[in-house]
């Protein structure tokens, strides 16, 4: 009975009993606290933080599993049943690893950067509407309903944009303070990439907010700046991606780039930059960057789900959709939280399949996608949405506009690139055929 597992088990069960006793003793007070929006928000914040960190650990396992499945392997399956305890093993390993701080780094910023990356990614969850309005069974039927959301602020959408774009600070500080050229290149790439993709991200979000405001009944239109308002605009109607499929796609692309995920992971391009911005990091600090990246993925997925894919709503063909979407019972709230979590899971699975399918962009291609495709298309669609609101057209005009602009963009890109070579190698071949370069030009140039 001296095995540490037994001691841990005894300690855990003792702690559990104490907690249960406290819960039962103070049950009335706890009920009162949970009925207050402020304390409920506090409780929810703690729960969400814990939930997100666990989810991050398991998303890392999911990523390893998905990459394995795509490559006809099984992935981690040794620790626990089908590898389910692998995150625990990884965590123990990372905690116990030596945490090296190289002598040549800027110490303060070097230590600060991973925290920056993670904290910034975590605080964005505050404005995600997890479960809508509800009442506890012990609350009066006419009491002010609680909101299953940490902070219901008026500028929720702007808050997410602002906080999300601060994620680049962690990367840039980490890369700069490492005092290493590869880390620095990675950080520079990340900065340029984030700056570029902020623009299409902002445009698509504005389109979503405008559409939500147009769909909301007149006096509530300003609610569209809150994510819960955007979700309310989709209650009982079509979800916004039905009106704006291309905008939803653009938001997905921009979110990929914002989260530094493949095919936009130039900041940590292993083949060129060793580890990119986290070259010099090890142990738990290194892990914090990854916790931050995955937390960022969860945030952007939840954001996308709320903005264009109905948030915690279920489509009306699902049995009981009416009850799930609008009921103020606390069970409905729990179901709604799971609906949103499921949508987040779908998005993240998509992120991962994209990562293990598509090759990384070249940097000029990355910039071209942002400035020559996403930004003009976003501006045109924004103008269209403004026109729809100004002249009171049907919202379905937006769908037509989306399709037209999509076709125009594809045709234009094909025509622009028609006749001009795609790769550098082809360009050199064409120059050779024109006689611009001799057949041996390369050799002669090299002095051979």
């Amino acid at each position: 009975m001296k095995h540490p597992i037994f001691s841990a088990f005894i300690a855990l069960s003792l702690g559990g009993m104490v907690a249960l006793g406290l819960l039962l003793t103070f049950w009335e007070d706890i009920k009162m606290l949970l009925s207050d929006q402020f304390y409920f928000s506090l409780f929810l914040a703690v729960a969400v933080l814990g939930g997100i960190q666990t989810a991050v650990a398991y998303f890392i396992l999911l990523e390893r599993k998905i990459s394995a499945w795509i490559q006809d392997r099984f992935g981690p399956n040794r620790v626990g049943p089908v590898g389910l305890l692998q995150p625990l093993a990884d965590g123990v390993k990372l905690f116990l690893k030596e945490d090296i701080i190289p002598r040549h780094v800027d110490r303060a910023l070097f230590v600060f950067a991973p925290f920056m990356a993670m904290v910034v990614a975590l605080i964005a969850f505050a404005v995600i509407p997890w479960g809508g309005e509800f009442r506890w069974p012990w609350m009066a039927a006419d009491a002010e309903p609680l909101v299953a959301q940490v902070a219901s602020i008026h500028i929720g959408v702007i808050y997410i944009l602002a906080v999300g774009s601060m994620g680049v600070y962690g990367v840039v500080l980490g890369g700069w303070s490492s005092n290493n050229k590869f880390a620095f290149y990675g950080a520079m790439r990340a900065a340029a990439q984030m700056l570029s993709y902020e623009v299409p991200l902002g445009l698509t979000v504005i389109i979503g907010v405008l559409t939500a405001g147009y769909l909301l009944p007149g006096p509530e239109a300003t609610d569209a700046m809150r994510l819960e308002g955007v979700v309310a605009a989709q209650t009982g109607g079509w979800w916004l991606f039905v009106y704006h499929p291309v905008v939803a796609l653009m938001l997905f692309i921009a979110a990929l780039a914002e989260a530094n995920r493949a095919p936009f992971d130039l900041a940590e391009a292993e083949q060129e930059l060793i580890g990119g911005f986290h070259t010099e990091y090890s142990g738990m600090k290194w892990a914090m960057f990854f916790l931050g990246e995955y937390a960022h993925m969860i945030t952007s997925s939840a954001f996308m789900a709320c903005l264009f894919f109905g948030g915690f709503l279920v489509p009306s063909f699902v049995p009981g959709a009416e009850w799930i979407n609008t009921s103020d019972a606390w069970l409905a709230m729990i179901v709604r939280i799971h609906v949103l979590a499921f949508k987040v899971l779908l998005f993240i699975a998509m992120y991962m399949v994209v990562r293990w399918t598509l090759p990384r962009f070249r940097f000029d291609q990355l910039m071209r996608v942002a400035w020559k495709a996403l930004v003009p298309a976003g501006m045109l669609l924004l103008a269209l949405q403004v026109l729809i609101i100004q002249f009171g057209w049907s919202q379905w005009v937006a769908l037509v506009g989306n399709v037209v602009i999509f076709v125009v963009m594809v045709v234009a890109s094909v025509l622009v690139s028609a006749g001009s070579p795609i790769t550098g190698r082809q360009r050199s071949m064409i120059e050779r055929d024109r006689g611009g370069l001799g057949a041996n030009a390369g050799l002669q140039h090299a002095g051979l």
Partner: protein
């Protein structure tokens, strides 16, 4: 490099075949079908449980079937029919070894049928590249590579296999992979 691409040197311009990349068609240039096709491929593999179940070998529980007669694993030093080391200390394997991992010390043989035998025969298993050149070079087929591939040790010193260890490898693998030509040298 003077004369490197002059006429009359050992290669001619006409020997060089320039292969152009095939031009992308208009359909391929529109890019999106290719992206979606790629996603289709990866998703197909992702849900193909049968394929990975068939191909993946869950290693410690299951092991691959090896072609034992040609697998190049840990070395062994063969014994002849009287249980003596078959090596005649000719140094052919040491000479052939590209990784310089074999070290032999020869001495006069105490037996009638040969002149020399090794009093020391060390192989650094960490340095070895398992190319099998020693096996090719050996005139008496005394050194052979076995199908044994689980090679672990606690230190580098431990991974330098001496004569006794190599003979032990022979003792435990001789049923798995019998000696090729036990009577090649006649003794």
């Amino acid at each position: 490099m003077p004369g490197y691409n002059m006429p009359g040197s050992d290669w001619k311009q006409t020997d060089v075949v320039v292969v152009d990349q095939p031009e992308l068609t208009l359909f391929e240039r529109s890019y999106l079908p290719q992206v979606l096709g790629g996603m289709g491929t990866t998703l197909r593999h992702m849900f193909n449980v049968a394929k990975r179940s068939k191909n993946v070998v869950q290693y410690p529980e299951k092991k691959r079937e090896l072609r034992k007669e040609i697998y190049r694993g840990v070395h062994r030093l063969n014994r002849d029919d009287q249980g003596r080391v078959a090596c005649v200390a000719c140094f052919m394997c040491e000479t052939a070894c590209p990784a310089h991992c074999i070290h032999i010390e020869g001495a006069e043989a105490p037996w009638e049928d040969r002149e020399k035998y090794p009093i020391k025969f060390d192989i650094d298993e960490l340095r070895c590249i398992y190319c099998g050149m020693c096996e090719e070079a050996c005139p008496v087929d005394a050194i052979e590579l076995t199908p044994e591939y689980q090679l672990v040790g606690q230190s580098r010193q431990e991974m330098i296999f001496d004569k006794e260890k190599l003979l032990m490898v022979f003792d435990r693998t001789k049923d798995d992979k019998p000696r090729k030509n036990p009577r090649i040298t006649g003794y």
